[in-house]
Amino acid sequence: MEGFERLSSVNYETVRTTCTYCGCGCGLLLEVLDGVVIGTLPQKDHPINQGGACIKGWNAHEFIYNEGRLKKPLVRRDGSFEEVSWEEAVEEVATRLKKIKEESGPDSIAGLTSARCTNEENYIFQKWMRAVIGTNNVDHCARL
């Protein structure tokens, strides 16, 4: 028993999740090594994909650590982006959207989200567009 209990700093596990890209919803396993996502494997026993995945599914982990991702909320002021706090950003968005909705009606607003958000985030987004803004104009880059 002793050898095994020797404290190791290695941590590897696989997390079951659903692919965020197209509407198929293939089951994937994200490989996490020491807290960093390093790869994807399709779930063998998932009823939809049964161990297969398309090329987007196999690389579903790649966007997580992409350098192009935003780290702080940005607001465009005087032609350039400024970092602001979350409260300020939410306040700005809410005020302006409210104004547009009053002046031009809810259907003048469209919501565009991304397949690289989690399925849950996209659900909240479309629910918010429909229930709060009051429009059906919602889409994302891979609604296929």
Binding site: M1, V10, E13, R16, K44, D45
Partner: protein, 258 residues
């Protein structure tokens, strides 16, 4: 069932809300969730390469079936894993599993206990193709390869595929873009590259979302290598694959000019 050895962790399948998923066990009490005989297989040896690369000084145990042990031997031969840093814990597959996988050796060389399943020697899938005429064969294979969606699943999941720069992604050898990719060479490139490394685990065919019978192709190449050079991958640790070294005339050279 598992003997505790001097390892930092053991890589095996773990029951995760009813689903077997690869996991690295670091605590003895977690081992009760470990699943052994399971029809859903994952390329554990390939995962081991990734872990070992990041933690080269740790010794890691891995639960292996027959096919995974062959893969382990091949990877050790090709210097993807270090000899003293991997400890294999063998388990045998059930007869049902052996029949399903058409495995020719469903148990590793050192297995803990339990009855050993009978190996399945079945070449009917290759013979079926060899009975067809040349044109029929070509039509059959082009029809099958034409289904390919270039997901790279067969390559990503293969325990014998480890090149950091893959031939299939080289724009000079395989034209990029286009669906299906350039066939038949897309599949032939991989078949040749793995000619003396394929361990016939069958993960490739299971991973293909289009159901292309790629395993048949790789088994044929494996049989060719066996017939020509008498070499079977994954068996002896000392023997190097015939296509991995220039040659010393030791193998009987096939005649030229044919």
């Amino acid at each position: 069932m598992l003997e505790e050895k001097e390892v930092s962790a053991i890589l095996a399948l773990r029951r995760n809300s009813g689903h077997p998923t690869p996991f690295l066990f670091t605590k003895a009490e977690d081992l009760k969730d470990c699943v052994a005989d399971e029809a859903n297989r994952y390329p554990l040896t390939k995962i081991l390469i990734k872990i070992a690369k990041k933690h080269p000084n740790e010794t890691i145990g891995i639960v292996v079936r027959g096919c995974e042990e062959r893969s382990l031997i091949e990877l050790l031969k090709n210097f993807q894993l270090r000899q003293g840093k991997v400890k294999a814990i063998g388990i045998a597959c059930s007869q049902e599993l052996a029949n399903q996988c058409r495995c020719n050796r469903p148990f590793p060389s050192q297995v803990e206990e339990s009855d050993l399943a009978k190996p399945v020697e079945d070449f009917t899938d290759i013979d079926e193709i060899e009975k067809l005429s040349e044109e029929e064969r070509f039509q059959y294979w082009m029809g099958q390869f034409g289904k390919c969606i270039k997901c790279y699943g067969c390559r990503n999941i293969c325990p014998a595929c480890f090149c950091p720069t893959c031939t299939l992604e080289d724009a000079n050898l395989v034209k990029p873009g286009g669906m299906p990719p350039e066939i038949p060479i897309f599949h032939l490139h991989k078949a040749y590259h793995m000619a003396d490394r394929c361990i016939d685990c069958g993960l490739c065919e299971e991973a293909c979302p289009m159901g292309i019978p790629v395993r048949r192709l790789y088994r044929k190449v494996k049989k060719s290598v066996k017939d020509l050079f008498g070499y079977v991958p994954g068996e002896k640790e000392e023997e190097k694959g015939p296509l991995e070294f220039l040659g010393d005339g030791g193998y009987e050279l096939p005649g030229a000019g044919k």
